[in-house]
Every structure is written in C-alpha cells, then in structure tokens.
Symmetry: C2
Subunit: 315 residues, 2 copies
C-alpha cells in the first residue's frame, strides 16, 4: 500500500469503473474526465478509472484508454484499471495505467458464469498478466480482487477455506495485493474480521483492499470490522454508484461520502476534504442526468460544529 | 438486563413509540395493537409501546394506556413506555407498564428547548419518578436515556465528560439502567466505543441500551462498536420509522430488520425470526398507508442459503 505519512488509510474510489459500468447510460468522456478531476481535487489518491473490456460488451468503457491518459495528467494519483484478462491488461499497460486490478471469483459457479473460466484458470491468467507486466511495465502494481469472497448468489455460502486458499494461490503467483470483495452484499462484520485476519496471517503485507457492498446496510460496519482487523485500503463509490440499484437506498457499493465521514469522525485520516467530496457529486450527476445517487451524509449534511478529529489511528 | 439464556442480546423495539410519535398521521389503536402482536410473534421481547404525554401535545399517543394494556396480554414481553415527567410516570404505572424510560438530555440547550428544564432538574424529576415507583409499583424498572449524548444540533459537540457525569448522577439517583442516545445522528464508532467503555467503568452493570440513529449511515457501525464495548441492549425501529425522515433513506432510527440481520449473521443470537420480522412490516404499513418504510435487508431479501450462524457471542 502507498499511504502518505499524513493519512492513516487509503480510500480507493471505484465509481468511474465499477459505478459507470453498472448503469445503463454511457457517460461522455469529457464528463468522466471532469468527474475524475473533481475526485482528485477532493483528495482521492487512488481512482479506478476504467475497465479494459471489449467495447461491444461494455460500451460504457469504450473510451478506457482516453480516460486513463487524462487521469495520468494528475500527479500524486494512482490511476487504476480493471482488466479481466491478458488482452485487457496489455491495453491498460499500453495506456499507461499505474495499477491493474483483476477480479478472480472464489465461487466456481460465479467464475464460470462471469468469465467462463474456473478460479484456477483465472490464477493462471493473473500469472500471465504478471509476466506481461514484468516484460513491458515493471513499475505497475497488480492487484487481484477475490470476488464473491463473502457469499455467492449462485452457489450460496462460499467456504472461508476456499477464499483463503485462492488468496494464497494469487499471492504465490506474484500478485502484489490480494483484496476481498463482497460482490453480493452477503458479508457480515464477524466474517469480515475473520477472513482478513486469516489473510494477514497467510499472505501478510500482500493483503489488499476491502471492497464491501451495502446491499443489506452492513457496508460501513463491515469496513469498520476490516479496519479493526488491520485493513488500510477501502474501495467505495461516490454516491454509491454501481452494484445493484434496484430499489431506493439499496445500492451495491459502499458510499464514499459516508465511508470518509465515518473514518474522519473517528480520527482516522483519509486525506480527503469532505466538502469537496460532496461537491464532486455535481459533475457525476451532470454526466448522468436522472441517475439516482445515494448517500446519507450528503442528504443529512455534516454535523453542526463538524471538524475532523485529530488522528487516533491504531497501528 | 433481562436476556434469556437462549439469546445473546436484547433488541428493544421503539417503533410504536418513537416511530409513531414522529409521523404526522395517527395510527388507529386497533392497528397499533395488531402491529405490536406481530412484533411479539417475531420474537421481540421488549417493546416501547407508547409515550405518556398530554394528548394535546402528541395526539398520536392519546391511547397510550389502552395500548399498554393490550401489550400486557402477551407473556414474556417487557412492555415499556416513555415518560417525560412525574405525571406521565404515574399514568404509565397505573396502566401497568413493566418498564419506564425517561429521556434526559446531556445538552443544556437541547434540554431547555425540549422540556424547559436543565439536565440537573431532569435528574431530580427522575428521582421523583423512582420514589413514586418505589411507592406504587416496586417491580417496575426505570431507565434513563441520556439524549444528545453524541452531539447536539443546537450546541454542537457535547463533551464526553458531561455525558459520563450525567450518567453517573442518574445512576446515583437510582435509575436501574442508563442508556445513551444518538438523538442527532452525530455519533461515530470510536466515540461510541469510548463513551460506553467509560459508562461501564463508571456505573457498571447499570449501563443500558445503545440508541443509535442512522442519519449519516453509521447506525449499524455504531451498534457494532457498542456491542464490542460490551453493550447488550440495542434500540431500533421497524422500517426505520421515526427520527427525521426528510429525505429518502435518511431515517433517524436504526432499522430493526438490518440490525437483527447483522447480529444474526455474526452469530449473535437475538431470539428474533427474521422472516416474521419482515412480515411485521405489513401491519405497520397497513396502519400508516403511504408512510415510507426503510430497510436494506427487506429490500434485498435474505441471502441465498441464509441460515443464522451458530452463536459466536463474546462474553
């Protein structure tokens, strides 16, 4: 993890990738760039800006290389891209992304349905991406994100041993970071704590981000549990964009605004300015007119007398 | 706390009081009774059913005595009533309530605005209620709930020393339990943990319920922090009814359905059947047509393969 000394944790904003690929509308490139600029202005230091997938599958991401190149103009920001396979990785590396993230499902059923590959075959794909990275862009970090790590809508419960074993395989293959994703919003704080503690004891400092969902309202509680277990990188999405917004308030992704408010109120420094973060909703909304945005803190506003607490971070 | 051996925590449902007094419409007595019956059927063992205040101030609560008498027909349920003063306490005791709760604000500004009494004067009111209880209904428990314990919309931050000192005064006055209420939704997990730990070390087993709000989305995370600090009673409201529903999703009270789901998923036994709890939304909605109900778990449904975890409670 690359966390500056002046902050305690890293909030990794996934909205421009995870959020935008989940909505029907396609945001114009100029609007994406404006939104990313406002996220940078708010203090985000890692942003997942695009997914390198065939444009006929995800037209929302057809401008991935252009968006990456725009984001690279900002200094001090890690420009991240999702790549599902070697071909995507090559395109992302050619565009200049600083960091790649590859989803690898712990549920065989989900993996086959999603990428028509078994989890083991995906580990080999990660290995191939790492070899390519070594060959053409050795400074780039590669994260593997274990999806359905907390449960699967296809196979139901996912054994914790399967998740830890997959994470171990990915670390052995050379992934720089291995995160856990609650793709289906089935995780709970006790499970989150157990899994991340096992990850730390198995793969040590390669333990990566907590990517929790808020499907059943437990997103922030799960992030708190992950923090207490030692996690210092958290994925979230401005306005809760993405996931499965089939009902009001039932967003998929943890809302960045609420997550930052929680940590800053606790005295855990994120490096993010909450007022500017709220302001970054405007360019998002402008680029996606009519799309519902979520977030309790934006609706309620900051508390009277609000001031971030002095740092009280553990460890 | 009266927690049966088969459960680990007590969920205290406050909807019929806190929720119903916050909405404009008045629920018919017969509908209140039907709703309370469904809550009991779901396994709730403590329900705040009414507030004993003058009917001209809160017409929604004019039938308080009748509702208490109805709830008393259920065995194994603690029938609780809010009383703001001695007069209300006498009415509640005459109606047969098992337990009274009295709000005492830690913010002098909020206390004066709300009940036109200082916090110190409210401690004397609690003392008077305890004397009356001793005289006419010695088996009844009296809880004092320290409101604005996590911040105040009038005075801003509320010093933690003030909260702990007030709790100590209330315990010294003889209150059986002293809980803390995040009336304004300004609390965070670190503060929740600190305050309850200080309460336990100051007033020991008289430490009562955590009454957290979800105004900024931190309700469940705060309940988790309170649980980890040793709290075993949690106030919440079915459908998140009550508080300040000025915006979609921005409910005041923690949603009972989400709270129970979190704890049951963690293996912390509540004694509550989640399917029946969801079913208790129907009589609530029937009695308050058009009123928005909240809750992420009700919207998303229980996860595939859902089964409550075996008890894994600490201590």
């Amino acid at each position: 993890m690359t966390i500056p000394a002046t902050t305690d944790i890293l909030i990794s904003e996934v909205g421009p990738r995870d959020g935008l690929q989940s909505v029907k509308a396609t945001m114009a490139t100029v609007d994406k760039c404006r939104w990313i600029d406002s996220l940078v202005a708010a203090g985000l230091r890692e942003i997942e800006v695009a997914s390198f997938v065939p444009a006929h599958l995800l037209p929302q991401m057809a401008d991935a290389a252009e968006v990456v190149r725009h984001a690279l103009q900002h200094s001090g920001v890690t420009v991240m891209a999702l790549v599902p396979n070697l071909r995507g990785a090559e395109a992302a590396l050619r565009a200049g992304a600083h960091k790649l993230t590859m989803p690898v499902s712990a549920s065989a059923a989900h993996s086959m349905a999603n990428v028509r590959k078994s989890p083991e075959a995906m580990v080999e794909e990660v290995r191939a991406v790492l070899a390519l990275r070594d060959a053409i862009a050795p400074g780039v970090r590669v994260e593997a994100g274990v999806s359905t790590a907390f449960g699967c809508t296809l196979q139901g419960q996912v054994p914790e041993d399967d998740v830890v074993r997959l994470a171990e395989l990915l670390a052995e293959a050379g992934a720089d970071e291995v995160g856990l994703s609650d793709t289906t919003g089935m995780g709970n704080p006790a499970q989150t704590s157990r899994l991340f503690k096992r990850l730390f004891s198995t793969i040590g400092e390669r333990t990566g981000a907590a990517h929790m969902h808020n499907t059943r309202g437990l997103g922030l509680a799960n992030c708190l549990a992950a923090y207490e277990a030692g996690v210092r990188t958290f994925d979230s999405s401005l306005g809760g964009l993405g996931g499965c917004p089939y009902a009001p308030g039932a967003s998929g992704n943890v809302v960045t605004e609420d997550l930052v408010f929680m940590f800053e109120a606790m005295g855990v420094r994120t490096g993010i300015d909450l007022d500017r973060l709220m302001a970054a909703r405007a360019p998002l909304q402008a680029g996606l007119p009519g799309e519902p945005l979520y977030g309790m803190t934006p609706e309620a506003g900051l508390p009277k007398g609000w001031a971030p607490q002095p740092s009280a971070a553990q460890g």
